[in-house]
Symmetry: C2
């Protein structure tokens, strides 16, 4: 198993770190995005500061706390699209999320009071992390631009998402989107195919699929989006979610205060986040 690049909470802010099993080595960068803007993911050993910690003593921050772009993709799992009776899309359905939405791998999901939203839903997603700038990428340039992969749960306020034809307002609620715990290098996961993805709520499985079902995989998405803009180091592309979300169930199920959401991707790890209702 190769090392993972993470961002951990330290006094006064955050630090990038390499995680190897239980060992956490701090790097001389503010966070994983800062590290990726400075050096390739497989050349970060030289930036070790000598500050070594045990994984049980660290708290993970959002793995890239402040990406220049967070793109999320909808309707991108073949099994889910077909079970809904829809046709496979010809282009990826892309929308944005702001970095203020991001939280760490074990942080609380700060859900709003029920009178503000009573339709908070889960979405396990494989998340691509860009490692080097790329524009109008070929397939080879696309894979070369990817640093690695992490996990995002694209927590969605369905009532806000569907109040108009544009999803943004339901997709970027502050302090609601866990991302992490670490970035697994592309050298280990290739194009990110063949990975089991799942989401449990209070220990009950709700979503279970495999990234083989992606209509547009990591390489396709980098090629497509890099026509529109330059993808930069630390940019995140959340590749979409399979079936099993709360809004698709009969009866519908949504997250409430105290619920524990466990989001797992094979070969990457697990996010474990508790929903805590907060005032806004």
């Amino acid at each position: 198993m190769t090392q993972r690049l993470a961002t951990i909470v330290v006094d006064g802010g955050t630090a990038a770190a390499l995680v190897d099993g239980d060992a956490v080595s701090l790097l001389g960068y503010r966070d994983a995005g800062d590290a990726l803007r400075s050096a390739p993911i497989d050349r970060l050993d030289q930036a070790r500061t000598g500050d070594e910690r045990s994984i049980s003593d660290v708290v993970f921050a959002p793995v890239v706390p402040n990406p220049s772009k967070i793109v999320c993709v909808g309707l991108n799992y073949r099994d889910h699209v077909l079970e809904m009776g829809r046709e496979l899309p010809a282009a990826p359905t892309c929308f944005a999320k702001f970095s203020a939405a991001l939280i760490g791998a074990t942080d609380n999901i700060e859900i709003p009071p029920v009178e503000v939203s009573d339709a908070v839903d889960w979405e396990v997603e494989l998340c691509v992390v860009i490692g080097s700038p790329v524009r109008n990428a070929t397939a080879a340039e696309a894979i070369a631009s990817i640093a690695g992969y992490t996990i995002m749960n694209d927590i969605s306020m369905r009532d806000w998402q569907t109040r108009t034809i544009q999803f943004l307002a339901g997709k970027t609620w502050e302090h609601c989107t866990p991302v992490g715990p670490g970035i697994v290098p592309v050298s280990e996961l290739g194009d990110g195919s063949g990975l089991a993805v799942s989401c449990d709520v209070n220990g009950v499985n709700k979503q279970a699929s495999n990234t083989d079902e992606l209509v547009f995989n990591a390489v396709d998405l980098v090629q497509d989006l890099s026509k529109v803009f330059t993808l930069e180091p630390g940019d995140l592309i959340a590749t979409g979610t399979p079936g099993g979300v709360g809004a698709g169930r009969d009866p519908k199920e949504f997250l409430k205060n105290g619920d524990v959401v466990t989001t797992t991707i094979e070969g990457i790890g697990t996010l474990r986040n508790t929903c805590v209702q907060t005032s806004i």
Copy 2:
């Protein structure tokens, strides 16, 4: 006329500046966003560096080059909604733009080759600039959080905007969205109502309306969006565009290499940008 807060190009980057008629006074901040994060817009005089220039000698950068959030609003002019036979919306239609899209008030709009997009369109928009952090704002808190107003032309690749149900891919093309030239303080423009807005292409008027026609005005939008997240200093809210866009004409009209787009809002100023076809 009060001073406007701008961002100008200097050796090695950008600097915030106060513009008073033809006089430009540089401030000790990297850009207008940096300035707004440091002091209220009406307290920036004390940050003058003594570097004074003439407006004919300066080039404007995107007025906030790197906002933490750029929110755009669709379907927000009453006259345009009604002429399209639609009902007035109950909530604002919000989508995002990434800061890599932004250009300065006289920069070239870098349109893609026609085989990539042949549907590049114009959209004059009054743009709210946030001055102080605000969450879940009352109307009074909303107006108090606004630093002022600037102009955005939300240049849109209609073919990319409508390829799926989400607008993002057509709304955030790199180096295509002029914003500026300066920020006119809220003390001068109030809630931004009563301002004539217009867009000309090659000297021919295409859009002409007034911000009195906004369905959701600046205060409404700050109140709404601040439920979802904290609006931060330098954040931009583009309030939508009136009728007269190229896609709504018969026959449709789109921008091509060499076209000059002139975007004007009463009391704020003018953006003047030339379309230059570039490879991507």
